[in-house]
Subunit: 408 residues, 2 copies
Amino acid sequence: VAVLGLGRIGSAVADLLASGACAPHLEATIAGALVRSADGRRATTPFPICTEPLAIFDARPDVVIEVLGGLEPARTVVLEALSRGIPVVTANKTLIATYGDELFAAATRFGTPLRCEAAVVAGVPFLGTFAARPLAASVDRVTAILNGTSNFVLSRVDGGVAFEEALADARRLGYAEPDPSKDVDGSDAAEKLAILVRHFARLSIRPSGIAAESIENVGPDEMRAARALGGRIKPVAVAEWSSPDLGCFAGPAFLPEDDLLGGLGGVLNGVRLERRGSAAIHLIGPGAGPEVTARAVLDDVVEALGGRQQVGVGALPRASVGPPASQGYFVTLRATSLPDAVDVADLLAAHGVWIRRWDALQAHPDGELRAFLTFPCLPDELLMALRALAAASACAATSRPIVEARRD
Amino acid sequence: VAVLGLGRIGSAVADLLASGACAPHLEATIAGALVRSADGRRATTPFPICTEPLAIFDARPDVVIEVLGGLEPARTVVLEALSRGIPVVTANKTLIATYGDELFAAATRFGTPLRCEAAVVAGVPFLGTFAARPLAASVDRVTAILNGTSNFVLSRVDGGVAFEEALADARRLGYAEPDPSKDVDGSDAAEKLAILVRHFARLSIRPSGIAAESIENVGPDEMRAARALGGRIKPVAVAEWSSPDLGCFAGPAFLPEDDLLGGLGGVLNGVRLERRGSAAIHLIGPGAGPEVTARAVLDDVVEALGGRQQVGVGALPRASVGPPASQGYFVTLRATSLPDAVDVADLLAAHGVWIRRWDALQAHPDGELRAFLTFPCLPDELLMALRALAAASACAATSRPIVEARRD
């Protein structure tokens, strides 16, 4: 195999192959590796190193493992491999989310396997499974926790830790990248969600078209208010579709605490697949980490060498993305002195926003804090209602969508 | 396709095919069906019906779907199909659990796909997935809720309903068979566990060799005591292995309430896969029901026609089965008047059983009830200790194994 990239994942792939853990299912050696800068590594690796992307083919690999991350030179080398009939395994979510159409079309055209199980919830194999099983895959909603770092951070915030401190913990424990902005701002989850939309909705979308919200302004007081209302704030990604509409969201949302995803702590990831009239499927496990990802990559190599293509994920119709249907909102109000609940309810109702449940008034360093859940309403209705409230009473409002499993 | 059996599942397969839900992935028609008794059905079905098992091959099917249940004539027809090179899809857990060695050996010998995804947690495809992915499949413990009926019944008991009433509810809602004894006594779960042992431990065992316990003597008072100690009684199946030892159990066990399987209610099924040093994987979804099973069967047909064998599940070494390593026990004591906790603890400690946590003394129609959790101990130590306790104080004791996820 040729390994593109010898970062944390590429090194874990090399270690796992050297450890013999793959025998007898996979007897593979590294024929060569592509790195951005060779530094002194040529002397320390037992396989050839190159820095010129297309020179990797001089090693005549049977499979190309792409764990470079980013768009180029990953895209160019993957396309070249596919055109040469060399199966490709990638863990690169950005690449598949961005160039999935082009890459899977090339894989189909050249009849070459292209697999990306490690790109989404690396510890739970399911993309290839559902791609090969059309009835199981005919779902119309996916709800998921796709970013372990942000789940860890919000779980710590739920434990009373401030956001910045929780993020520092994640960095110290090696969960967060030196630059964790893609984890925090929802764009990592949006890329993975675009891959899930490709696999399950069979639609092609730009990840940047998904409304993504940062988790950075979720604090312990908002989390306490969510608990008081029977839920938790979780970093979720949601996609639902019903021809021709596709609604997506990635960001902090209010999940009931008895929800399997709502109860998922630490760095765990989870995916819920729903089809009307049927009980939901939940797939839960580790989402990332060098060893977990390396194992998924090498299992993909086994499958690719067995000739297994990921069926039916070639070029797909482009879709535009709106928001998912509202299931209501979790709203937190903060002010020096909050208006009476009755007055708030009256004002919101005038804008079409109806309150389902209040929690108790809490003291807050800067005044008072209260939270409530609304019935489903349009995002614009909520926006106008909260603006009117702010104008009338000088209170600051934060809102999170409620995300619940369907109860059929 | 030929369909062996036109009961609830066979009829659902026929309905699903007729509905067009499988297009464009599978364009199949029923070439013939085998039934035990034709009755008046020859006139009502749009396909030929036969009652002579091997006559089904006169229909020249491309795939054989076996949903007869039971051992014969299922085994004979499946072997005949495999020997003729006709792929077989079965939902028959008893058949695979009992004759898995012979059937998969035949499938391998004749190079004919044999698939059984619907036999275990029909709503979540995973057997084929993990069979094709050796690194993901290298786990050393499986913990599962494999029988929806018994999960439903114990969930109702947890809600305060007596066992018999809960079972009657399950029958009325169509979850339980007219004869639910295999659901209740753990033998259905043991058969499914034997299939999981085959797939993950790569060992062949007789399902009757698995220690199975009935859920029928679990009542609301025991469930309340479990809750007081932070857990629930769930109908679980456990297998763990470490060469050359294999430990298995199927029956009611004490699970922590924050455990993903411990919190699983209704008729849901779930599987936890554990490997030391890695976070567990949980797969959760509907376990049975005619439509869920029919969908899994037809997805298997799609995969079988794509030439996909379930890799590596041919004839396997036979293993003998012991109990899993103890994680401690949940013990309930009932007596007209219970001895002091200190005296109970003393007596048990003399037999090597140490108490981890007591709940509070409860009144009970026949006297008093108390429960406690023990530290891990040998089954024989617990047995002798509880016998000594019964002799000393005339109290009745019930014990359930504690089953917890490893905390690595």
